[in-house]
Symmetry: C2
Subunit: 353 residues, 2 copies
C-alpha cells in the first residue's frame, strides 16, 4: 500500500454536510432548554454533525494528540534563554509521561504520540515515539531559507500520514501538539507573512523572555520577513521562515480533515500551521476548532484573521498541545448534548408561550 501523502490529503478533503447541519440545528430547537441557551456548545455540536455527516454526531472520543518535535537554527541569534538540548530532553519527558501534555491527555483518555520530524540530535527508539526525521533542525531563518521546498513536502507528508494513521487506529478527534526550542520565532514570522501584520504585532515572549531579548527577536523576525517578501504561499513561507514541526502540523491538520475528523488546534505554533493549512487547502479549516487563546500576540492574530472563537482563554502559553487538550471535554459535550438530551415532547415539558 502506498503511503498517504499530503497531496492525497488535499485531494480528499470534502465539504461540510449541509443536511446533517440542518438536522442538528432543528434538533437543538426541540431540546428541553431555551433556544440558544447552550451558546457555543450548540455551535460546536452542529459543526460536529456537519463534519461527521450524521445527526447526532458521533462522540469525538478517544482523542489522539500528536506532538511534532523539531529544532531551529535561529537559536544562533539569541532569541530564547533555553538551550537547544531541551527539545530532545522534552521529547524524552513526553515519552516517559512526565510533561503537562501527558498529564492532561491521561485525564482526557487521549493518547500522546511524539513525532521526531527534525530534532537535531539522534533519538533512540522508544514506545510512543515515531522517528520521521526530515533533517537535523532548520537553518537560521534570519539569514537564509530555513529549509528546502523538498524538506517542506516531506514534513507535510509526515503530518498527513501521522493523522491518517491515528484515525485509522481509532482516534475520533485529533489534537495538535509541538515542541521545539525557538519555534515561537518561526511561528511569528509565518503569522506575520500570512496575515500581513508586522513583526512587532505578532512576536511575543514565548517561554518568557526579557525586553532586550524580545527586541532582538522582533528584529530577527523583521529580517526574515524582508528576505521572504510579501504575500507568500504557505509552502514558500514554510521553506523560508518556518520550522519542520510547523510544516508537519500543517500536514497533520489537512490529513485529519481528509479523514473527516475534528482537529483541535492549540496555541501560537499550531496557529501558524493552521494559516499554512488554510493557504494550501482552504476547505480544511471547517474541520478545525480553536482550542484556546494563548497569551502570545500571534495566537490572537491568527484567531482574528481566520474569524475563529477559542473555546478556552486561561492565560496559557505552554504549547505541547496543552490548551487544546484541555478543551476536549467541551467538544465532547457538544456532541453528547445532541445525542442524549430529552426533547420537549419526549419529556412532557411545556414550551414557552
Amino acid at each position: 500500500m502506498s503511503p498517504f501523502t499530503f497531496v492525497d490529503a488535499v485531494a480528499s478533503v470534502g465539504t461540510l454536510d449541509a443536511g446533517a447541519e440542518r438536522a442538528a440545528i432543528a434538533h437543538h430547537d426541540r431540546l428541553t432548554k431555551p433556544r440558544g441557551a447552550l451558546g457555543l456548545l450548540e455551535t460546536i455540536g452542529i459543526r460536529l454533525a456537519a463534519i461527521a455527516g450524521a445527526m447526532p454526531p458521533p462522540v469525538p472520543t478517544p482523542a489522539a494528540i500528536a506532538v511534532f518535535a523539531g529544532d531551529h537554527g535561529v537559536l544562533a541569534q539569541g532569541v530564547t534563554p533555553w538551550p537547544q538540548e531541551v527539545t530532545a530532553q522534552m521529547v524524552a519527558n513526553f515519552v516517559a509521561g512526565g510533561a503537562a501534555i501527558n498529564v492532561l491527555s491521561r485525564q482526557m483518555g487521549a493518547t500522546v504520540t511524539v513525532v521526531d520530524v527534525g530534532v537535531i540530535t539522534d533519538l533512540d527508539d522508544a514506545h510512543g515515539l515515531l522517528r520521521r526525521k526530515v533533517r537535523r533542525g532548520t537553518a537560521d531563518l534570519s539569514v537564509e531559507p530555513a529549509m528546502t521546498i523538498d524538506d517542506v513536502e516531506r514534513a507535510l507528508d509526515v503530518g498527513a500520514e501521522v493523522a491518517a494513521g491515528l484515525v485509522d487506529r481509532g482516534a475520533r478527534a485529533l489534537v495538535t501538539g509541538e515542541m521545539g526550542i525557538g519555534n515561537s520565532t518561526a511561528a511569528a514570522a509565518i503569522i506575520a507573512a500570512l496575515t500581513g501584520r508586522t513583526a512587532s504585532e505578532v512576536t511575543g515572549r514565548g517561554t518568557g523572555i526579557d525586553d532586550a531579548m524580545l527586541a532582538r527577536k522582533v528584529a530577527v523576525v523583521e529580517r526574515a520577513l524582508d528576505r521572504l517578501g510579501p504575500e507568500p504561499d504557505g509552502r514558500t513561507a514554510l521553506a523560508e521562515v518556518g520550522g519542520l514541526e510547523i510544516a508537519a502540523l500543517a500536514g497533520f491538520i489537512v490529513g485529519g480533515a481528509a479523514r473527516r475528523i475534528p482537529i483541535m488546534i492549540d496555541g501560537v505554533i499550531a496557529g501558524a500551521a493552521l494559516l499554512v493549512a488554510a493557504s494550501l487547502c482552504p476547505q480544511a479549516l471547517a474541520f478545525t476548532f480553536a482550542g484556546h487563546r494563548s497569551t502570545e500576540p500571534g495566537a490572537t492574530a491568527v484567531l482574528e484573521h481566520l474569524g475563529q472563537e477559542p473555546l478556552l482563554d486561561l492565560g496559557m502559553r505552554l504549547g505541547e498541545g496543552s490548551g487544546a487538550c484541555l478543551a476536549l471535554p467541551i467538544l465532547e459535550a457538544g456532541a453528547r448534548v445532541l445525542a442524549e438530551m430529552a426533547t420537549f415532547d419526549s419529556a412532557g415539558v411545556a414550551d414557552k408561550t
Copy 2:
C-alpha cells in the same frame, strides 16, 4: 445526631492553608515548563492545595451537583414567557436524566441530586430527588416580601445540610445547580441590592424575552428594590426579594466551604447566591470557583464585584449548573498537574539560563 445547620456551617468555615499554598507555588516553579506557562491552571492548583491543606491537592473528583428547585410569585407580573408548571416538569426531566445537566454530569462522572426546596406543586418520591420543601413558592417580590426570615433560615439550612451530606457520601467537589421559572428576576434584584448596581444594569433576558417583557422585568426589579431599601444584609435581601432555591444555594456554598471542598459556581442565579453567602460568611468565598461567564448582565456584575475570573466564557445562559459542570475538567487538571508532572530534576531537563 442533630442536623448540620447553616449556623453550624458558618461557624466551621476556616481559612486557606498558607503553608500548602506556598508549597504548591514553589512546586510549580520546579515543573518541566516555563514558569507561569499554564496560566490560570496554576492558580487553580495552588488554591486547591490551600483549600485541602495538602500539596499536591487531592484530585477533586467525583463531583456532586445539587439542583435546587423553587417557584416564584413574581410570575404574576409577566416577567417570563414560560409557564410556572415548567419548574416541576423540569424536575421530572432531571430525575429522568434527560436535561442538559444530566448529560454533562454523566460525561464528568458526577452525580445530580435534585432538591425541592420550594416547588409550588407536590412532587412524588423519586430516586435522586430530595423533598425539602420550605414553602410552596415565594410571594410576589414586587409587592410584598418574597418570604419570611424564618423561611430563609430553613432554606439556608437545607442547602448547608445537602452540601455536608454530599461531601460525607464522597463528593470531592460541589456544583451549584438550580431550576425555577422566574428566578432570574429574583436574582437580578439580589444582585442589584448587594452590588449597588441599578436594576437596568443587572436585569437580563433570562431564558429569552423580548424588549417589552424586559422593560416590564426591569420595572419589577426596581419596585422590589424600592421596597427593600439600600445596603441590606444577605438574609434581608433573600427574604424581601429572593427565592427559596437562591437561599438554599447560599447555604450550600457555605456548607461546602465548611467541609473544605471546592465549590464550582454556575451562572447568574448561583452568582446571586454567592453574593448572599459572601455577605453572611465572607470566608466562604475562598472555597469557590467561578465556573463560567453567563451572558446575563447580572452574572458579570457578580464576577466584577467579587473580583473573580470565570473559567469558561461560552455564551451559555441555561442555568441548572450546566456551565459550572462543564468547567469541572479544568479544576481536575489544576490538581493533576501538581500531582503528576515531572520536575526539571526528575526528568533531566535543563532549566533556562
